[in-house]
Symmetry: C2
Subunit: 326 residues, 2 copies
Amino acid sequence: MKDVAARAGVGLKTVSRVVNGEPGVTPDTERRVQEAIESLGFRRNDSARVLRKGRTASIGLVLEDLADPFYGPLSRAVEEVARAHGALLINGSSAEDPDREQELALALCARRVDGLIVIPAGHDHRYLEPEIKAGIATVFVDRPPGRIDADVVLSDSFGGARAGVAHLIAHGHRRIAFIGDQPRIHTTVERLRGYREAMEDAGLEIDDSWVALGSTAPERVQQAVTAVLSGPEPVTAIFAGNNRVTVTAVRVLAGQDRRVALVGFDDIELADLLGITVIAQDAATLGRTAAERLFRRLDGANDEPAQVALETVLIPRGSGEIPPSD
Amino acid sequence: MKDVAARAGVGLKTVSRVVNGEPGVTPDTERRVQEAIESLGFRRNDSARVLRKGRTASIGLVLEDLADPFYGPLSRAVEEVARAHGALLINGSSAEDPDREQELALALCARRVDGLIVIPAGHDHRYLEPEIKAGIATVFVDRPPGRIDADVVLSDSFGGARAGVAHLIAHGHRRIAFIGDQPRIHTTVERLRGYREAMEDAGLEIDDSWVALGSTAPERVQQAVTAVLSGPEPVTAIFAGNNRVTVTAVRVLAGQDRRVALVGFDDIELADLLGITVIAQDAATLGRTAAERLFRRLDGANDEPAQVALETVLIPRGSGEIPPSD
């Protein structure tokens, strides 16, 4: 407020009058204060008050992929919490592009959302520091932020993947592939770490050819699955790094003569009827927990940012219990 | 512009200078003109120009349900077109509530989107008339608007449902149920009309107990499917009104001793592996077509609003080709 007063050439009391809509300020002075506020990015550190003042409160959600069914229940849960607080939810998608994520997050801030929930695509979120300082509550979900300290709610990717791979090992598998998403994504790294740890715990060496990371486009996954099933010593089981990988892996395996075991990270619709064993994370609880943390912040909570890791659940349905074909 | 000039107490030339950012206007006059513009809801009828002036252009999309996988590819297609035009996409969901739809659409307009794509929940869109007059291009998708004239892009729900039911009749079925969504939704009405016409064309009478409309919550659909399979003369085939109904119907049918034929409106992921016959609409093309129409409007096209109806495709995969059990 001191910076605003100095820039506008007025006293602190005048700034306070303008911000609180009190009388006794000439239109010209009010305009100068407003301009100083805008140019300095000053914002009332009490977004909940905006709500009481009549404007519809809103929160922004930066998603990663609008077409990924994993984010559907997450978004809806965020929306339900927002609605319970009388706020609108505005979404956008980064399409897994860090520049796009930044552009979208800042565009939502410029459109005066009161808070922001971000599924980060990038690894450097210092661009959000001025917004957070200006009072925009910010919570990360699904993946942690980079180079800033903020609340984050995610699933235990490491523990989930380790449990899934250990399940395959317990059913007799020794040669197990890991087909995952892009290696720059936090969840990919954590799930790969879980795979490696489970293999190591069982005293199993990993052949480099068993690990394939990259795009989740069907063509890439199809190629990767086909590759680990080829050669003189093909794998007898596959751990799929997320729902997009699982869907394509299931299709490829359906066309094989030999039965190959499969455990996928993330549950998928109709997996029950297809007998697909999964490590399920609870997308709705992720969204709800993140949104509740956000509204706690908007209500004035100012404890240190924290990380919440939700447990995953192994759901055996058949595909993960297939014994090794050799 | 005349109203703005009168309200601000300046000449037309001055309003034009302010709007076009030309010099020769005192700060005080500029402020008065801006206030007049805001209070009158005047907006430049040329949103594309905003884009060239530096502010990131944006379009808003009002969805119906964030968790319905049908809207995932639709949203992503809209986003891809927006991005190709250098614009951001901002989403929100009405959760099938007309009041919420209006609140969200107007909130997006207040946040200065250049255009709006709406999947309507309500049947009266006159609330959008001032926004459309003010230059916010508006296109409806999936369902038509009510009581206003605007571009709309949808699938041929009537023709698709008629073809799906005719397919079941061609496979020998005479007692066919229609399990659909809420009767106030346009697509429900059209698909039910297609079902009735196909039955009538084949000279088949419809028993009232075969038609069940309502929420797509799993419990309601489960009850409805169970009901049409009970009694002295159960149906031998089911037409499911949309993907949410199909998913639950498939689960119920999987638990039956007797084989019951099923055709569902909308394709669903992994339906190929489960052998589910569907009437597929192309959600991505719906979104892309709507977005392209929107950007045509933003680029200045001012031909009469039109309705585009996209064809559906019947994909036989087994469930729709099961013969009658009696």
